[in-house]
Symmetry: C2
Subunit: 112 residues, 2 copies
DNA sequence: TGTGATACCTTTTACTTCGAGGTATACTCC
DNA sequence: GGAGTATACCTCGAAGTAAAAGGTATCACA
C-alpha cells in the first residue's frame, strides 16, 4: 500500500482562511477579496480554491456555517469553532517552522 | 484548452537546491542531507524529490552536471550556470513576496 | 556472507491548487 | 425591456508538484 503525506508547503490557503475567520465571520466571496487585500496583492486565491476549502473545513468541524439573507442575496457566513482554532494554531506553527527553515537556508554565505 | 499555472507556493525545493549549489557544487545524495542540515531539520526532501528536480534543472540549462569517480563510486556534481543564477534570483524574489504576504495576513490586527 | 552506508535513478500515487464553467439575483443605464 | 455589471454561490476536470517506494550497484566491515 502506497501512502503519501501532503506536500510540505501546502495548506497556506487554509491557514489564511482560518486566520481571517478567527478575527470575524465572513462569507466566501468576501474572503476572496479579503485575502488579496491583507496580503498586499501578494496572494490571490480564486473562488475555485476558496469554496472547496471552506466546505472541507466545515465537514471537518473546523467551521460552522450560517446562511443569511442580505439585500435579496444569500450569503453563507463561516465562523471558527474551537476545533478550527486548534487547527489554526497547528498550521501557524507549521508555517513558522517552514518559513524559518527556508530563511536559515537562504541566509548565511559564511563559508569557504 | 485548459491551462493552469503552477500552485503559488511551489518551487521551494528548487529554490533550496539552487541556493546551495550557488555556494558550491554538490551531488544529489549530498544535497539531500544538506537541505535537512541547513534548514535545521525543518525541511526534509527525499531522493524522489531531489533527483527529478536536478534533472529538470539540468535539461533547462540552469545546472550543468559533471561526473566524478570517488572511491569507486560515481558522483554527479552539479554547478549553477548563469541561467541558474537568474532563476535563483527570480525564485528568491517570489518567495520573499509570498512570505511577506503571509506575514502581513498573520500579523495582529489592532482592530475591534 | 550479509548488513549498512553511499550513490544513482524511475515509476506510481496522492494531493493541492487552478481555471473555467455554470446558476441566480440585484442594480444601473439606455 | 434589455444589456451589462457586480454580487454570491457552486462544481468539475486538468495540471502540476511532491511523496513514497522500489530498483541497481559499489564499498566497508564484521
Amino acid at each position: 500500500m502506497r501512502q503519501s503525506n501532503p506536500p510540505f508547503m501546502s495548506g497556506v490557503p487554509e491557514l489564511l482562511l482560518l486566520r481571517l475567520l478567527g478575527q470575524r465571520e465572513m462569507y466566501g466571496y468576501e474572503l476572496v477579496r479579503s485575502i488579496k487585500l491583507v496580503t498586499n496583492d501578494a496572494i490571490t486565491l480564486g473562488e475555485g480554491v476558496i469554496y472547496p476549502v471552506l466546505h472541507s473545513l466545515e465537514r471537518n468541524g473546523a467551521l460552522k456555517a450560517k446562511r443569511k439573507k442580505v439585500d435579496g442575496r444569500t450569503r453563507v457566513y463561516y465562523a471558527l469553532t474551537a476545533r478550527g482554532r486548534k487547527r489554526l494554531e497547528r498550521l501557524h506553527g507549521e508555517w513558522r517552522r517552514i518559513q524559518s527553515g527556508v530563511a536559515a537556508a537562504m541566509e548565511e554565505p559564511a563559508n569557504a
